[in-house]
């Protein structure tokens, strides 16, 4: 709105403008704020790449899918040997034999690790644990529950067979005659093209 003032000097009245002194003015911030008010908020997210990523993830995970839902724990000290013709492992009590210890179900048998030495053939802690386990299986069997009577055995690939046989003897003497040797499954070698 403009108008003339009746005085000796004529002044034009203008609408007030930006009046903050340059000293306190945040010029770039003001510019940004002015621009953001004009920004279009109706942004379309590009979903194609996300769906591609999801599809690949789903395919990859489907290849690793297991319907059995059984977990198997490999002791960090144990490197399993490889085999081509093994069958899927079932969930059963697990005995791990490493160079220094024997454990039953991820728990070292006895208060101290059982030293695998030829002078310790009896392994009383292992026998006690297996006897307890056998009694538990029998109770389940008596109650009419389905039980698996075998045992899984895992050992480091460089362990001497004498240690395995010693544990196997104890297993047999405590009534576990079905023993499954855990191995790492290797894919069959590719067939040569003819």
């Amino acid at each position: 709105m403009t108008g003339e003032v009746s005085s000796s000097t004529k002044r034009v009245i203008r609408p007030p403008g930006y009046h903050i002194e340059p000293k306190y003015d945040l010029k770039h911030f003001r510019k940004k704020m002015d621009e953001s008010s004009e920004r279009d908020y109706d942004v379309v997210l590009p979903l194609t790449s996300m769906i591609d990523m999801f599809s690949m993830l789903v395919i990859f995970l489907l290849l690793n899918f297991s319907a059995t839902g059984e977990a198997y724990f490999v002791n960090k000290d144990i490197k399993l040997p490889e085999a081509l013709n093994a069958r899927p492992i079932e969930s059963m009590p697990l005995i791990s034999i490493s160079k220094t210890s024997v454990s039953l179900d991820s728990e070292v048998v006895g208060s101290n690790p059982v030293i695998i030495g030829l002078n310790d053939r009896q392994m009383p802690a292992l026998v006690a644990s297996l006897t307890k386990l056998k009694a538990l299986i029998k109770n389940q069997e008596d109650a009419g529950l389905p039980v698996k009577k075998g045992i899984n055995l895992q050992a480091d690939q460089n362990t001497d067979v004498v240690y395995i046989k010693r544990v196997m003897n104890i297993l047999i003497s405590t009534g576990f005659s079905s023993i499954n040797f855990a191995v790492r499954e290797t894919p069959p070698p590719p067939q040569a093209d003819e």
Binding site: N64, A86, N158, V161, S178, F181
Partner: protein, 143 residues
Amino acid sequence: MAKKKVNVELNMTPFIGLFALLVVMLLLTAVWNNISALSTNTSASTASDEASPPPKNQVNLTVTILTKGVEMAENTKGNVIPHLSGEVNKASFITALQVWRSKYPKRKDLVLNTENGVTYKMLITVFDTLVGEGWHDVGVSTQ
């Protein structure tokens, strides 16, 4: 007739929801360690009251892993396949097993013995080869 609108936008929300659920479910059920098992029934190879004795005329097939080689024996007579640079000579072993297979086409059982000094890896290698060649009923001797 009204012109049909062709520029249709597919609603992706349920797809993304489904995919997200699938990813979570599959992550939970994924198996990162491919662990399998080679099974043996030791009662067949050790002294047991329940084990039935083998037929009288049946030949006892025995594979023994020695530190120097693999011995394959029919009853008592056997021949040794020497190891190749510390490992089982798989090719010769398979050939010998195929000879046994042609000789005893119906047999699936044999006893696997081991010398105390051999490694578990060697036991598994021989066991795996036996299963691969159709000898599924392998009894591991603990003697």
